[in-house]
Each structure stands twice: as C-alpha cells, then as structure tokens.
C-alpha cells in the first residue's frame, strides 16, 4: 500500500459561475462553484481543479473572490487554471487560497515563465497544462503536437519533448489533455498519456474524453497516469466519486477511501 491514484473533478467557471452547471442531486445552486466543490469534497474527491474561462480581465476579480470562498470551505488541494500569464497572476491565486496554478498557453509563448514561476513559488504549485493532438497519419509512428486556442492552432512542438522540457524547467506536475478526445466521451488518448507518463519523472494527470468508469481505470493502468481528471460524468450525475473509486479499487487500483 502506498500513494493513492487521484480522482479530480474539474469545474469550468465563467464570471464566478460553473458553465452548464451540474445536474446531480441535492445541490441548491447548480451554478455555484463553491457549493459544487464542497459536494465533491464530501464525496471524497482527491483534489479540485477550477478552470477559469472568464474572458475579460475585469471579471477576474470575481474569480479571485470565488477561489477565496472555495478555499475557506474545501480542505483538499485546489488547482486554478486559465488566464495565468504573469507572476502577479500566480501570486494572486495562491494568496486567494489556491494550492497550485495551471499554466497553459503562457508556457508555450514564454517557456521561461515556467522556470521563473517554479523558482519563485516552488515546483509543487506549478502545473503545466498540455493540450495535445495527434499529428501522425495512420501507419506512421505515433506523434502528438501541442496546440493552443482550444486545439485550433498548431505550435509545431512535439508533445513528449515539450513535456520533458516543462519538467526540466521546474513544472511539478503535467495536466495532459487530448484535444482529439476532449468532449467525445470515448476515453483518454492512452497513447499520448502513456508516452508522456513514461517520459517524465513528475506526476501526470490524464484529461479529455472520459465517458465511463472503465476509462478512468484505463487512464491509470494503460496510460500510466498518476491522476485522472473528469468533468461531465460527475457533473451530470452519471457517476459519483465513490462509485468511481469502488470501480477502480475493484480493478486493483489503490484509491483513497
């Protein structure tokens, strides 16, 4: 027995409200991220990821306030991503009560930002989010590239090499999203998950495509991820966190009960 594999529900938050809300039982306000996070905490979620998709800079004050409220009521680790571009952004989120920040596009445009952030705040709170998409043709050796702008813009960066570089620059964890699978419910892209998990010495969170509980198991056993992130299977009441944990445990995966 040792370290448990983690299950991380992810909330997409716009101007302080959860996008599309949640549809599971006994939530009074389906759009309040704090109440939803508290429910997931009660259910036994191992961490919460809060993805801020608020477009305008002015509305970010709402995000800070929401993070403050969440950190006052939820006593499990909280990661905040979206719009983290400067050291000041990181400081603001950590001061509000986030334990980690997730850096995505800013890392692509300025890799040294990751190095600076890790030196300033410690690797333990720097998650680098990778949006990867398969670029190899059928029959070729598998290859994935980093994309930005929701998977629309290629960067030419090889995903595995990029993950290694980010780990070398001081990232404490990789949040890997397959843009081919995100929203499909067809399961993680296990190829890229495994390629990156095997390549880097830091923990990897698999994300993008979870449609059922077997997908969570596959992410750990086939993809060799250290944690699995999912949104809709939990938000829409398809499964609870305890169901997911029982299912994983029955397949020999160590989880926190």
């Amino acid at each position: 027995m040792g370290l448990a594999k983690r299950i991380i529900p992810c909330l997409d938050v716009d101007k302080g409200r959860v996008v599309k809300g949640v549809q599971f039982l006994d939530i009074r306000d389906a759009g309040d991220p704090v109440e939803i996070a508290r429910k997931y905490d009660e259910q036994g979620a191992d961490e919460i990821t809060f993805l801020d998709i608020t477009a305008s800079h002015e509305d970010r004050a709402t995000t800070v306030h929401t993070v403050e409220r969440m950190a006052s009521e939820v006593f499990i680790p909280l990661t905040v991503g979206g719009g983290i571009r400067t050291v000041a952004d990181i400081r603001r989120m950590l001061n509000a009560g986030a334990d980690k920040v997730s850096i995505n596009t800013a890392a692509v445009f300025n890799p040294d930002f990751v190095r600076e952030a890790a030196e300033r705040f410690g690797s333990q709170c720097i998650v680098v989010a990778l949006d990867a998409k398969k670029v190899s043709q059928p029959g070729e050796v598998d290859r994935w590239e980093i994309f930005t702008h929701g998977g629309r813009k290629p960067t030419g960066l090889d995903a595995v090499e990029w993950a290694l570089k980010m780990a070398h620059f001081g990232a404490g964890e990789i949040l890997l999203t397959s843009m081919d699978r995100d929203g499909t419910k067809n399961g993680f892209d296990l190829g890229v998950t495994r390629a990156i998990s095997d390549a880097v010495s830091i923990p990897v969170i698999a994300s993008g495509g979870v449609g059922n509980l077997q997908h969570l198991v596959d992410g750990i056993t086939e993809g060799r991820a250290d944690a699995v992130l999912a949104a809709s299977i939990f938000h829409f009441g398809q499964h609870t966190i305890p169901e997911a944990k029982s299912f994983m445990e029955n397949q020999g995966i160590e989880v926190r009960r």
Binding site: G2, L3, A4, S72, D99, S201, A227
Partner: protein
Amino acid sequence: MNTVAIIDYGMGNLHSVAKAVEHVAPDARVLVTDDANIIREADRVILPGVGAIRDCMAEIRRLGFDVLVKEVAQDRPLLGICVGMQALMKHSEENGGVDCIGLFPGEVRFFGDSLADESGRLKVPHMGWNQVQHLVDHPLWHDIPENERFYFVHSYYVDALHPAVDSADNSFVIGSASYGKQIAAAVGRDNIFAVQFHPEKSQHAGLTLLRNFAHWSGQL
C-alpha cells in the same frame, strides 16, 4: 482566549492553514502574522512553509524567526507543516545545502531521480494521498486511525529510519509513510510536533489533527 499564531514569512499559502484552523477551532483567535510580539504572546504557534528551503530559511533568518521559533518552542505547542517541518531540522541538502533551525537533529534529503518500489518507478515530487503509520502514540493522533491518508507534496524528505545528520537518534520520528523508502511523516518532541504532509489539505484526517493541535496542552 486561545490564540493561534501562524508565522508569515512571505512563503506560501497561509490562507489555507488559517481557514482550516478557524474551521476546527471557531473559538480560537487565528492570526497570520509577521509580528514577533504577537507570535511571542500566542498560546500556540504554527510554522508553515512551501517552496525552496533556501528562500524559506533566508526569510526566516532575515525576520529573526529562527531565534523566535526556538524561543516559543520552549514552552508552548508548536506545529511545523511541510517545509515548516523541514526548517526545524538541522540541515537540508536542497539548494546545495542549507542550515536550518535545528530543533531536531534531522537531515533533509532529496528523493532522487531513480526512486522506485516493487511496483516500479515512482514520480517525484511525492504528490498525493499517502498512508501514515503511527510509530509513537501521541495526543495529535487522537481520533486518527492508523494508516489514514494525508496529502503530501514534496521532493525532499527526512528518512524515518536514519533521520539524523550525525547521530543514531531516530526517537523524534512520530509517524512514517512509505514512498520508495520509509519517510518521516511526523516528528515531535515534548510540545513540538511537525508534519511533512499538509493537514490543511487533508480533509477530515487533516482537520482532526489541526483540531487536536488547537486543543493540545503540549503535554504528552
């Protein structure tokens, strides 16, 4: 009134620690402070910490908190958390070697790049929920079962079996966890207790430990 001072030396997420203590001890006065007088007058003191030990120790020294921590450690409950625990050791090999406060003779070591157990390679940092074994019965373990999970995130550790720099003394290791080796999850002596994990992020188990601390007399 029960005052809990959380030492603020500019490193890390003190808000979380404060909120968690307030949650379990609503009657306590919880102060996040860099004011030596307030810390000196507090009934209980918490030394948190995240990030690199060199930067933490530099700030602790600049603010005179190394001396202050030793002073308050003489007569009231003191709780170190994560790098706050490591700062209480004698020395850390992080950042090319850093002398720490030295309340315990422990040496803080790097997990290394080739950490493994019988299941294969282990990732560093040690990040997530691991089980803690109680090596010594202690008031802060009250209501916390053996092998309960706590949230860890660290790349440097104190060895549970051979913790000390230059002595065979491992009597100060109060709890351990297994991650490629036996690591010190908790250390303590008299009224001093310190944990490598984050109780403020360890849900029920962590809150229980903080509640125990908020009510602890400092007696064993």
